[in-house]
């Protein structure tokens, strides 16, 4: 069965396809999150070998939100680039739909990260490279949303924020590098080294499955938002006035 992907670049077709997919994504999101958290909470020890007590179980949501924050930014830039290169309306709509979900994930990551920090290192906040760069990511997301909100003309605001997101992508690694290595000869960090070596498999499964659940959630929510944007922008078209929900 040959699927013509370009058909779904038209808002009208995307609207109907996503309408059917959204409930599936919701089911997947809820199922995966519940499984991930069940594994994480009920099949894992109460205390880890390195002295971490039960608070370590925050990690399931913390890691999930942080990864989503970063990947959603990447997805946003992807759609932004498609829009800038091919000038497709729908890709711009998806980019801006992704932004808000990404911002919420980033915020959730900051809060859970602060709580995690308080429990495992004793401090709510520390200006270490990963955390600081993550805070900058939050600022970049907010900047994207502010810029889009300040421009009335839809075409200009779509393109300008798309452009900004690409600039952000270019600069964030440089920022990370400069904070991590303020002395060019010396690089340092407090944030836990990637904790995947020697992690009990159920904890790992819990993290990965919960993250997958959050991915499904993100797809569902971004599609919902994109459909709203489509309805709003295309309200004068005939296909919208023929929709079941509008008659």
């Amino acid at each position: 069965m040959k699927i013509n992907w370009f058909k779904y670049a038209a808002p009208m077709n995307f609207y109907s396809l996503s309408g059917k997919l959204i409930p599936l994504f919701w089911v997947a999101a809820i199922a995966l999150t519940l499984i991930g958290l069940y594994l994480g909470f009920f099949t894992t020890p109460n205390e880890l070998g390195n002295g971490m007590k039960e608070y370590y179980k925050i990690i399931y949501v913390h890691v999930a939100t942080v990864w989503m924050a970063m990947w959603l930014y990447g997805m946003m830039v992807f759609w932004a680039l498609i829009g800038l290169i091919f000038n497709t309306r729908l890709s711009y709509m998806m980019a801006s739909a992704t932004a808000i979900t990404g911002t919420l994930m980033t915020f959730a990551g900051l809060v859970t990260g602060a709580i995690w920090g308080k429990t495992s290192w004793g401090t709510w906040w520390d200006w270490d490279p990963r955390m600081t760069t993550y805070l900058i990511l939050f600022f970049v997301y907010i900047g994207y949303i502010s810029l889009q909100a300040s421009i009335d003309d839809t075409r200009r605001s779509d393109k300008a924020s798309a452009f900004l997101s690409v600039v952000g992508l270019a600069i964030v690694p440089v920022i990370y590098y400069s904070i991590n290595c303020p002395d060019p000869d010396q690089c340092a960090s407090l944030h836990q080294e990637s904790s995947f070596k020697g992690v009990e498999s159920n904890i790992l499964k819990g993290m990965l499955i919960t993250t997958l659940g959050f991915w499904m959630y993100s797809f569902a929510v971004i599609m919902m938002r994109t459909r709203n944007v489509i309805l709003k922008r295309e309200q004068k078209t005939s296909w919208v006035s023929k929709l079941k929900e509008v008659s």
Partner: protein, 223 residues
């Protein structure tokens, strides 16, 4: 191609000379900000020498975002900018000329006023020298990167604050290595060379990419 550069450069400098106050307000903003820190934090020599490297750069960043609003706004308001975008010469070259003029008027003065910072913050002579060199390398980067933000926020209400908010995170690497250079010059046994080389690298990269990026952003804003 280069004649377009010189024409725009001369024009912008000439226009700015007729509005000299715009240049001076940026400079005095910088001076006021560096004067505020000792009042707010403390004026003992130990404190001053410790915070000087960060303070001078933060003041430079803020002064830069203030100055950026003016980069395109005058030409945008009287329609000249749209004309420039339509002309067959490369918009990137003309934008580059505008940024250079802008830097000469708002960035270079900061380099020249650095000895005053040295005076206020009781810094040794060779640190002041490093500071001037670091500012000389870093302020062009601020103007170049900032121009992209100025182009994106062209003509928007609430533009100045939005511009600052968008551009300040982009300045962080310059802040870190610029202040690092100054701190290193005050510390025993540390070399400033790696910092200055990094700043030089930033400057070269921004000169290569920023005018083109700014021109693209201008085209988006002018549609």
């Amino acid at each position: 191609m280069f004649s377009a550069f010189w024409i725009i450069l001369k024009r912008d400098l000439l226009l700015a000379l007729r509005r000299r106050n715009e240049v001076f307000t940026v400079l005095f903003f910088f001076i006021v900000v560096i004067s505020l820190f000792p009042m707010g934090i403390g004026s003992e020599e130990k404190i001053l020498t410790k915070i000087a490297s960060g303070v001078v750069w933060i003041a430079a960043l803020l002064a830069s975002t203030l100055a950026l609003e003016r980069l395109f706004s005058n030409d945008y308001e009287d329609g000249t900018l749209e004309q420039l975008a339509l002309v067959p010469q490369s918009l990137s070259i003309m934008v580059f000329a505008k940024i250079v003029a802008h830097w000469l008027l708002t960035g270079l003065p900061l380099v020249l006023i650095a000895p005053l910072v040295g005076l206020f913050y009781q810094l040794p002579m060779d640190t002041v020298g490093t500071m001037m060199l670091a500012l000389l390398l870093g302020t062009p980067v601020l103007s170049m990167i900032g121009a992209i933000g100025a182009a994106l926020t062209l003509g928007l209400r609430g533009g100045g604050v939005l511009l600052s908010f968008l551009v300040l995170p982009l300045y962080i690497p310059v802040l870190i290595y610029g202040s690092g250079a100054i701190s290193a010059s005050m510390a025993e046994g540390l070399s400033v060379q790696p910092y200055l080389l990094l700043l030089l690298a930033f400057m070269i990269l921004s000169v290569i990419f920023a005018p083109w990026a700014t021109a693209s952003a201008l085209k988006i804003s002018l549609e």
